[in-house]
Symmetry: C2
Amino acid sequence: MRKNPIVQRETLGAAVLQIRSGRATSRTTLAKALGISPSTTGLYVDHLIAEKYLNESGLNQGPMGRPRRILSTQAGAGWFAGVEFNAHRIQAVGVDFSGSLKETVELLLPADVMAEQVIKSILACVAKLAETMQGPLLSVGLGAPGLVDAQAGVGIYYAFIPDWKLVPLVEVIGSRLKVPVILQNNLRAIALAERWFGIGHELSDYVILGPRSGFGIAMVQDGRVIEGAHHAAGEVGRWPWPLMNTAGGGQELHHALSAPATWRRLAGVGEQNNLPEDLREGLAAVADSSGPEWDAVCADYARVIGLLHMIIDTGVFILHGPLTMLGERFCHSITDTACALMPALRDAGLKVVPSTLGDNAGALGAASQAMEAWAPA
Amino acid sequence: MRKNPIVQRETLGAAVLQIRSGRATSRTTLAKALGISPSTTGLYVDHLIAEKYLNESGLNQGPMGRPRRILSTQAGAGWFAGVEFNAHRIQAVGVDFSGSLKETVELLLPADVMAEQVIKSILACVAKLAETMQGPLLSVGLGAPGLVDAQAGVGIYYAFIPDWKLVPLVEVIGSRLKVPVILQNNLRAIALAERWFGIGHELSDYVILGPRSGFGIAMVQDGRVIEGAHHAAGEVGRWPWPLMNTAGGGQELHHALSAPATWRRLAGVGEQNNLPEDLREGLAAVADSSGPEWDAVCADYARVIGLLHMIIDTGVFILHGPLTMLGERFCHSITDTACALMPALRDAGLKVVPSTLGDNAGALGAASQAMEAWAPA
DNA sequence: GGCTTTTTATTCGAATGCGAAAAAATCCCA
DNA sequence: TGGGATTTTTTCGCATTCGAATAAAAAGCC
């Protein structure tokens, strides 16, 4: 047995991430992925195996040479909680140490809920998850709506919870649960969810389109989520729309491209009519429609996406939220319309795809953060 | 004398950068800036002084305690070349080891110049600089127009030099000059110039507005220049404009907001008329104008900047190029118009300022890159 | 089956970087 | 004038990390 040095916590965490994600499977590949020497990597892996975070699960014979000793995460070593919320509901997921989704909890919030009750409900959701998850809770990720200061761990502002101003979420939740807590804006959390659970796992540049009650985006550039100088990157919902409205004080993009607005436009229904009971079903019902309403909606989306693409030159736009019910046809329509309106896009590889993640993408993203932030004690 | 370990090149380079920029002035502050221990920092500094890259230039007494031994870069230790070019001219600057601009060279290129002659001319400019700069040439930064793959060191495409396709600039120039060569797009180079020589030296988030013969931007987020997945981030010139032109195939932003177009609009002169001999003078002449033309130009700029601001949530927009001749009044007009058109911007701290750097900002930026990339042998 | 080739993992001495403590340089105040 | 107080710099022992060599494990090849 080798001597057991006091290794660096964060490097241990990074090693676990590489193994969990499958980017590294053996000591040698892990050494390359972490950028440290094979000898040191061996020491780290020994430590992690001794602490029951990793195990060796067989051999992998290459075309020649000594076979790799496959490293895996020990599923039962503990679990991560991911919680996302808005003014209406809380979604929480439990993810085991191997990164597999194991449990989901949803909780509806009453109208006019206040910050304190939201926090209590978050804690209740985590407690509910704890009943069935095995091992200790290792860390908690939160996806909060509105403006979020991820570094400070503070929810700055959210319009739909009356007293949601400068809520020190990380501090409050962390002091109750006694585990590390990571906070991020919910759309940016979804971006992380795509990296771990969706199609973003091999992409380093993509954009999340998140039309729900409003319209916002999250951008990933070179593997990094863009925050903005005031934590407001991607808050395009307040773009004036149509854009050339000179007067000012006109409509905003929120109004034109939110999920309810999109349904109303596609269904040909005015603002006075009620929304369908289940908006996703309503959208699915109009997914095959066509005609000028369809074209107009696609043209609006196409313009927004085209502008965005030329600014940040991303690879892929991933559509999230209820509008995924409109399916691939909608995404193709947007792409085609955009290329027709802006010929420059034709060569630029513009691509819009619906997310394969479901309604709990935000909670999954929050859990992803928890995983990324964790490191052994 | 302490023993002299074989230190890491890149840490030596980083140390010199910190001293040169003034972010660190003594051994202790340097240790903090580099994130390494004071003891190790002492060894590094000793090495750099022994190699004549740094020197001690006196003491700095704080309010109490042992005074700091002030570290400075040795101006004569060598020099950096920064070269920027387009289809019309080459600008080159020589910067000494302390980061001071010492020499400038400009060379006009003939019409229909080809790639080979551009490369020859770049080498000629560097040779010219070498005549007066003292010490050895340490590295060369290049700012190239069009699409640029900075990592690969290749100029991908530029419309105004006929055979400018996949030009391996770094390889070609590097093999001639036998020093490291760094390449970047010229607008993104300007972003670096602002960091070293302009108002960006304490900003981590800003945007360069570069209206010249076209319109493009460069974005700095959290201290990093954004490249884009296909090296085309900020290429907004091909936005359709006015935006709501449904037909497609209309005008582009290039046409509306380029420097010549702006002059024509402000001067009330049609496309058939010639441009003034000196566009900067022409623009200075209309800087005090007002009326509907002025308002329309400002409104266009305001819209573009407003949209950009809400996407990337930057701190400051820095105006570059000939339009700086329009002065602060123009920038204020843009800001005011934008806030009037998009009320959301009022709280977001939108700010547009003219650059204090002159016409050679691109070359300065290229030199900045050279400085940032250099490390002792 | 033994030999070479290839790839992965481990051993072991060397050395780089760190932490704690000491030294140095100055100010403040009695 | 001399003893804290304070801050910067250096010394010194120690230990983590590295590199090179070695061992290990398998395939291919005659």
